[in-house]
């Protein structure tokens, strides 16, 4: 079905005209979305897009390069605190502070990538986990970062206030357009990376690092590069997240957040950018909307409340979100290891070969 006839066809950004058409249509849909969406959902949408950026970055590391990271909340925190800190204390304009913070995150990613050269599986998991916790702890200790009380994000000013050009984004909708544009750049960038020599080296490392090394892939460079790129994405996402939330403290970036990031990637589908987008959207929606107000959900809500009254506690019903996420994680691995992308492939195959 999807036969590639030559190299140039393989490296094209859009594999066919159909994909290009739907991508453009989807873009148009996203850019006109605020017109027919209630205002509350714009906030949710902002968080979803931030998580999409992060999930795409994490997928480069986990899905394409095959390394495990349980510390991405750490990079996320570096992005959020870094951007806010650079803007507040050094008065660097937003357009510079965000990439700068992301480069700081990428640098930490590079550092974390160094032990990862020799570690794999559970050992890598504990090293990255320790990294995430360390970042959270260090930020919580330093008073310039607001300590345990957390900090408020500075006003989101796209201009340079020092020379008198000021363009402050205040509403959720204007922020939505900013985040959306950045997200489109990041996602297209990720897709582009995976079509290049670097991306192919990542995939080779995932499939077998020893074989990749024999083929001439420099493991030192590419493994650390994968960590750095992934951390860069997390840093950008974190910087934007700070502005979306307006206020954050170190405990926002805890171990559970790292797990949820991993869940987004796995639920969406490993090694697929479309999958990451779907996974991040679904999980964020579940987490911030559906499961948060589960007692008001139709049918299910009443049922759960009655169960809670009968055997459990009504106050504890908010924990249902955690139960549902856990079940989704287990269910995806057991029934559909390729994630939502796998379901999508199956639907596509069914229609392409119909009626057989």
């Amino acid at each position: 079905m999807d036969m590639k006839r030559d190299y140039y066809e393989d490296v094209e950004l859009f594999s066919s005209g159909v994909v290009l058409f739907w991508s453009v249509a989807f873009m148009v849909f996203l850019f006109t979305l605020p017109i027919y969406m209630p205002n509350y959902y714009i906030y949710l949408l902002n968080i979803i897009i931030v998580n999409v950026i992060l999930a795409v970055g994490l997928n480069i590391l986990v899905g394409y390069t095959g390394q495990i990271s349980l510390g991405h909340a750490g990079f996320f925190a570096i992005g959020a605190y870094g951007t806010a800190f650079l803007m507040t204390y050094f008065h660097i304009p937003f357009v510079l502070a965000l990439p700068l913070a992301a480069f700081i995150a990428a640098f930490f990613g590079f550092i974390l990538g160094l032990p990862a050269l020799r570690l794999e599986g559970p050992y890598l998991a504990i090293a990255t986990l320790g990294f995430g916790l360390t970042i959270m702890h260090v930020i919580g200790r330093w008073d310039i970062f607001g300590g345990r009380m957390g900090i408020h994000a500075p006003p989101l000013d796209l201009g340079v206030p020092e020379i008198g050009i000021s363009w402050v984004l205040e509403s959720d909708i204007s922020m939505y357009y900013l985040i959306l544009i950045i997200a489109v750049i990041m996602v297209v960038g990720a897709r582009n990376i995976m079509k290049t020599r670097v991306g192919r080296a990542f995939v080779a490392i995932r499939d077998s690092d020893i074989a990749a090394e024999v083929m001439g892939v420099n493991l030192t460079i590419y493994k650390t590069l994968a960590f750095a790129i992934s951390a860069f994405y997390a840093g950008i996402a974190g910087g934007l997240f700070g502005f979306v939330c307006g206020f954050f403290d170190p405990f926002t970036f805890n171990f559970i957040l790292s797990i949820i990031f991993l869940v987004m990637v796995v639920v969406g589908g490993l090694g697929s950018i479309l999958g990451s987008i779907m996974g991040a959207t679904l999980i964020t929606y579940l987490q911030y909307d559906l499961l948060k107000n589960v007692s008001e959900a139709p049918y299910l809500g009443d049922f759960l409340v009655s169960i809670s009254k009968r055997w459990l506690t009504v106050v504890g019903l908010e924990n249902f979100g955690s139960i549902a996420l856990g079940l989704i994680m287990i269910g995806i691995i057991v029934f559909e290891p390729l994630g939502m992308y796998g379901i999508w492939i199956r639907i596509k195959k069914y229609w392409m070969t119909w009626p057989f």
């Binding site: 986990v62 495990i68 160094l114 032990p115 020799r118 570690l119 599986g121 559970p122 050992y123 998991a125 504990i126 090293a127 986990l129 320790g130 990294f131 916790l133 360390t134 702890h137 260090v138 200790r141 077998s208 020893i210 074989a211 171990f255 559970i256 797990i259 991993l262 869940v263 796995v266 490993l270 809670s308 055997w311 459990l312 506690t313 106050v315 504890g316 019903l317 908010e318 924990n319 249902f320 979100g321 955690s322 139960i323 549902a324 996420l325 856990g326 079940l327 989704i328 994680m329 287990i330 995806i332 691995i333 057991v334 290891p337």
Partner: protein, 290 residues
């Protein structure tokens, strides 16, 4: 003062090592890192708490019921969540256990709420002895040492002399060969999970009496124990106990010198150790097959 620090470090280290044994049993048999270990133990401790508080049962009875519950819980998780997965990858298994962790944490929070509760075991901190001058040891420390020692001896005897223990060792060495020899490998897996859940539950009771009981209380000890297990090499039970003791001592001494960095010193040590010896201190380094 130094004696005091050593005793405390050894006691908490024994507790970490004790809990880390639970990891090792699962990792050795089925090559899964069980991220749900802490939460399995947490749920078991909550069951004990429930029995003690609402039915006013004596401690030994609650303990026995909890142990039975822990074994069933471990076996159930293996049976319901891990067994149905068809040739999962390392990451897939990890995600399943993380999912089980969130599931159990949510269940405990739903049933018992998030507020912190006190959990008492017969070995208290209040009763202290002073065998040497300047070295105070309390009942809790003694309890941990005895429990860890007993578990070590029992496990040794179990793996050495019982049929099931030998079957477990056979499964660890080569699953296919074990199957040919007539061992029901799935059943061995379920049993390993039950056993590990039981050991974890005993350790969690010690942790709970040290701090307080709430759905998140096993998070920190779990990570320390994980670190201890990695330090010890994830493969040998004595190695893991030594890893736990080392971690406890390092943490206690650092905590005394720089109290504010105590929570993260364990991880810095782990990363440094892993940089030098990528598979822990006491594991034989094996070469990966292509």
């Amino acid at each position: 003062m130094i004696g005091q620090l050593i005793v405390e470090g050894l006691a908490i280290g024994a507790c970490y090592g004790f809990f880390a044994i639970a990891f090792v049993i699962i990792y050795k048999t089925s090559e899964v890192i069980n991220f749900a270990q802490g939460e399995m133990a947490m749920l078991s401790t909550f069951v004990a708490y429930h029995i003690l508080t609402y039915y006013h049962a004596p401690f030994w009875l609650a303990f026995i019921i909890t142990m039975v519950f822990a074994v069933l819980l471990g076996a159930f998780i293996e049976f319901a969540f891990l067994r149905p997965a068809k040739d999962p990858t390392v990451l897939g298994l990890l995600v399943i256990t993380l999912g089980a962790e969130m599931l159990l944490m949510g269940l405990a929070g739903w049933k018992w709420g998030a507020e912190q509760k006190a959990f008492d075991i017969p070995m208290s901190f209040q009763v202290t002895h002073e065998p040497l001058k300047g070295m105070i040891i309390n009942d809790w420390d003694i309890g941990v040492f005895i429990a860890a020692g007993c578990i070590m001896v029992l496990l040794y005897l179990f793996f050495r002399y019982t049929k099931l223990g030998v079957a477990m060792k056979a499964t660890q060495q080569n699953q296919n060969a074990a199957k040919i020899m007539g061992i029901k490998v799935e059943r061995v897996f379920s049993f390993a999970w039950g056993l590990s859940s039981l050991i974890g539950a005993v350790a969690a009771m010690f942790f709970a009496s040290r701090a307080t009981l709430d759905p998140n209380f096993m998070m920190e000890p779990f990570m320390r124990a994980f670190a201890a297990a990695v330090l010890g090499g994830l493969m040998s039970i004595p190695g893991v106990i030594i890893g736990g003791e080392l971690l406890g001592l390092i943490e206690n001494f650092f905590g005394y010198a720089w109290p504010e960095w105590k929570p993260i010193v364990a991880f810095i040590v782990i990363v440094l150790v892993l940089c030098i010896r990528p598979s822990g201190l006491f594991a034989k380094h094996y070469v990966k097959k292509v």
